[in-house]
Amino acid sequence: MRNELSIVLCGEAGQGIQTVENVLTRVLKLSGYHVFATKEYMSRVRGGCNSTSIRVSSKRLSAYVDRIDILVPLGKERTKHLNKRITKDTRILVEHEQIAVENKIYTNIAAVGVLSGVIGADKKVLSDYLSGYFSAKGAKTIEENQKAAGKGYELGINLASSGKFALKIDPDPKVKNEIMISGAEAIGLGALMGGCNFISAYPMTPSTGVFTFLAQNAAGLEIVSEQAEDEIAAINMAIGAWYAGARAMVTTSGGGYDLMQEGMSLAGMLETPVVVSLGMRPGPATGLPTRTEQGDLDLALYSGHGEFPRAIFAPGSLEQAVELSRRAFDTADKFQVPVFILSDQYLVDSYYNLPSIDIPKEPPKKYFIKTAKDYRRYELTENGLSPRGVPGFGEGLVAADSDEHDEEGHITEDLELRKRFVEKRMNKLKLLEEEALEPELIGEKNSRILIVGWGSNFGIIKEALSALGRNDISFLHFPQVYPLPKSTMGHLRLAKRVIAIENNARGQFAELIEKLTGIKITERILKYDGLPFSVEELVSRIKEKAGK
C-alpha cells in the first residue's frame, strides 16, 4: 500500500488545468492531506502542452518527482511531451470524461471528483469548496458542478476499492488548518513582513507572480504599486523610493535585470538600500520564458559596473522564501546595499501546505535617522556605515550623488577622498560577511561525500538523499550564496569528495566556492534543459557519481 500519490494533469494552455489544480489541491489540503504541486508550461496562452504535477501524501512534501501514478489528460489528449515520464505503472485516467459526456464544461470538475474519490478525500469538503469556488456564478452552476464532482467521487471510490491503486494515504487532521502558498506568495509575504511598501516592476515571467501578489494587496496593505514603462524605470523608482524612506522592491527576470544593472550600480554608489526579487529562467536572451534554471547567479553576483558590496539570498523552500525575503529588507536597510532574493520558475510556481507563517513580534527595524541641521549623508565612520537620513525627516538636507562624492553628498574630484570612499563602501562587505547565514547541513558533519546545493534545489536534493538512505553522503545547502559565511571552508574541508548540484550548465555556485575558498569542486551534477531536477533523476545521478 502506497501512502503517497503523484497525479499529473496535462493539456493545452487554457483547457482548465488551473481549475482542476486549484480545486483539487485545496480540497485535499482541507481534507487533511499533505500536498505539493508544481507546474511546467509553454510560453503561450492557448494550445501547446502543459502539465501540473501534484503529490499527495501523509507526510510533508516539498519536491518534484518524475513518477506519474495517475495522469489526467484534459481536453484533447496531449500526453506526448510526458512520454518519458509515463511508465507501465502510470494509470491514464479518462473516466471523468464519461461523467460529463452530456456537458463538457463539467469534465474538469468531474476529474476533481474522481481524483478526490480515489484518494478518499472528504466529500463534504469537496462539495463545500465548490460552492465557495463558484459562488459568483450562481446556484445553478454550483449545483451542476457539485453533481459532476459527486458522480466523479463515486467513481473514484469504486476505482480505489477495486484495488487497482493499492493506495492508503492517511490524512493528518492538523493539515486542515494549515495554509497553502506558492513560492511567489511566499516571497511576497516575506517582503510584506520586511516592511515592503513600494513595488515598481515590469511584467516578466517568472517574476510576475510576486508583483501581482503585491499589487493585489496594495490597497489592503497600503503599498505603492506601479507598473513601470520598463525595467530601468522600475529600479530607478525603487531606489528613489528607498532614498525617500520607503521600503521598495523590484521583481524581474534575467533579461529585465540586465537593464537594471546601471541602477544596481547606482544603489551601490548612493548606498541606498534596494531589494531585487530576481526570478530565474533559462537564457540567454528570451530563452525559455516559462521554464526554470539557476543560470543567473553570476549575473547577480557581478552585475553593475564598478565595485560595491551586495548580498544574495536564494531560498530553498517556502519557509525560507518568507524568511529570506523579510531578511532582505532588513539587510538592505541595515547595510545600505542592494540585496537579491534569487528564485526561479520552479520555486515561484511550486506550492505546498505549511503549518503557518509566524509574524515576528518586533516590527521591521527602521535604520534611518532623523537628521540634524548639519547632517552629512556620507559621514565617514569607522565601519563604513553612515547614518542614513531621508528628506523631510529632520532639519537636515539629504544629498545623494552618483558621482564620487564628499561626506555631504556633493560631487568631488578629490582623489584621496575617492580612495577612502572606495574603502568605506567595500568595508560593508565584511559586515555582510559577518552576518552571513550559515548553510544548513543535512547528515553527518564529516561524511565522506558532501553534496553542495543552493536555492530551489533544496527539497529535491533532500528527498533524493533520504531515498538513497546513505550515511556516507551529507548535504550542505546554502540559503545565502553571497557573501558566504566563514564556516564554509570548514564544512568543505571535512569532506573527502564534494559534489555540486546545480540547475545550470557551468556550475556557477561551485565556481564561486572555488574562487572564495580555493577548494576545487570538479564533481558536478548539472541540468540545463529548462526543467527542475526530479527526485528520481537525482537519486540515479548521485548514485552514478558517488558509486555504490
Binding site: I179, L189, G220, I359, L397, A399, S402
Partner: protein
C-alpha cells in the same frame, strides 16, 4: 525677498560651469522662484541625471538626488510617491531628458506625478564635449555629426502636447524675469509640468547663441489660450521663429499620487508607516482555504 534667496545659497562653492554659460541664469532664476514661492530647503527635492545641467541641484541648498544619466524622472516620481509632501523638481539637460531618458519622459507624462521638469535645452551634449543632442537642429556640425545633423530635432513641446501633458512651457535663459514667472507657475501647477528652457552653451554650441535665441524666439501673445490643445500643438510646431511661454495647460488630468491606494486612508509619508500586522495576518489566514 533677498533674504529668502539666501536660504538657498550654497556659499562660496566651485561651480563647474563655463563662464558665460546659460546655466547660471537658470540657477539664479530657480533660486528666486523657489524663494518667492516660500519653499523651505528641507522641503525642496531636486532630482537630476548626468550632464552639465544636471549638476545644478548641487548648487542650491536643498535635498539632492543626482542619479544616472537619463534617469532623473523615475526616482523623482517615486520620491514624490513616497513622500507627497516634498516639492519635487527635476532639473536636467536635453540629452538627459529627451535622449537617454526619452522613454521615461513620455511615460511620466502619461502617469502624471506632481513634479516639475526643467530641461536646460542647449541643443548639444555639453558635458561630453559637443555631440549632437536630440534637439540639435538640422545641419549642426559636431565631431560625431561630421556632416551635420540630419535627424529631425525632437520637439519636446509638440510631443508633450500629443501626450496631453498638463503643463507645457518654453522659456529662454536669457530672459530671467519671464522665465521666473513661468517656473513659478510650473511649480505651482499640480501635475507633471514641463519647462523647456533654451540655454546657450558658450563652449560647444556656437550656432544657437544668446543672440540666436533672441533673434529666433518671441513670446506667445496673451490671446493664446493654453487650454486649447490643437492650437497649442500648432504653436508648438512653429519653426520659423520659436514661441516662448505657456503653450498648454490641462487641468483635468488625474494625478499619480492621488490615485495611489496607499494614500487613500493614510496620508503619512511612507517612511512614517508601520506594517499593518492585522491585515497581514488576515492575508496569511486567507491561504488556509
Amino acid at each position: 525677498m533677498n533674504a529668502e534667496i539666501k536660504a538657498f545659497d550654497m556659499g562660496p562653492i566651485d561651480i563647474a560651469w563655463c563662464p558665460g554659460c546659460g546655466n547660471f541664469g537658470i540657477l539664479n532664476v530657480l533660486k528666486e522662484a523657489v524663494a518667492e514661492l516660500n519653499l523651505a530647503p528641507e522641503n525642496l527635492m531636486m532630482v537630476s541625471g548626468i550632464g552639465q545641467a544636471a549638476k545644478e541641484p548641487h548648487y542650491l541648498k536643498c535635498n539632492v538626488f543626482n542619479g544616472l544619466h537619463g534617469r532623473a524622472v523615475p526616482p523623482a516620481t517615486a520620491i514624490k510617491a513616497a513622500n507627497p509632501g516634498l516639492t519635487v523638481i527635476v532639473d536636467s539637460g536635453d540629452g538627459d531628458m529627451y535622449g537617454e531618458g526619452g522613454n521615461h519622459f513620455i511615460h511620466a507624462i502619461r502617469r502624471n506625478p506632481d513634479i516639475t521638469v526643467i530641461v536646460h535645452n542647449n541643443m548639444v551634449y555639453g558635458l561630453t564635449k559637443g555631440q549632437a543632442s536630440p534637439t540639435s537642429r538640422i545641419g549642426f556640425k559636431t565631431p560625431i555629426q561630421v556632416e551635420g545633423v540630419f535627424e529631425e530635432p525632437f520637439n519636446p513641446l509638440s510631443v508633450a502636447i500629443a501626450l496631453d501633458a498638463p503643463f507645457v512651457a518654453r522659456a529662454f535663459a536669457g530672459d530671467p524675469e519671464k522665465t521666473k514667472e513661468i517656473l513659478k507657475k510650473a511649480i505651482q501647477h499640480r501635475g507633471f509640468s514641463l519647462v523647456d528652457i533654451f540655454q546657450p552653451c558658450v563652449s560647444f554650441n556656437k550656432i544657437n547663441t544668446y543672440q540666436w535665441f533672441k533673434d529666433n524666439t518671441y513670446y506667445l501673445e496673451d490671446a493664446h489660450d493654453p487650454q486649447e490643445r490643437s492650437a497649442a500643438f500648432r504653436r508648438a510646431i512653429e519653426d520659423e521663429k520659436l514661441p516662448l511661454g505657456i503653450f498648454y495647460i490641462n487641468e483635468k488630468r488625474t494625478i499619480f499620487e492621488d490615485k495611489l491606494a496607499a494614500y487613500r486612508k493614510n496620508k503619512a509619508p511612507l517612511f512614517d508607516r508601520a506594517v499593518n500586522y492585522d491585515k497581514l495576518s488576515e492575508l496569511i489566514n486567507s491561504r488556509k482555504r
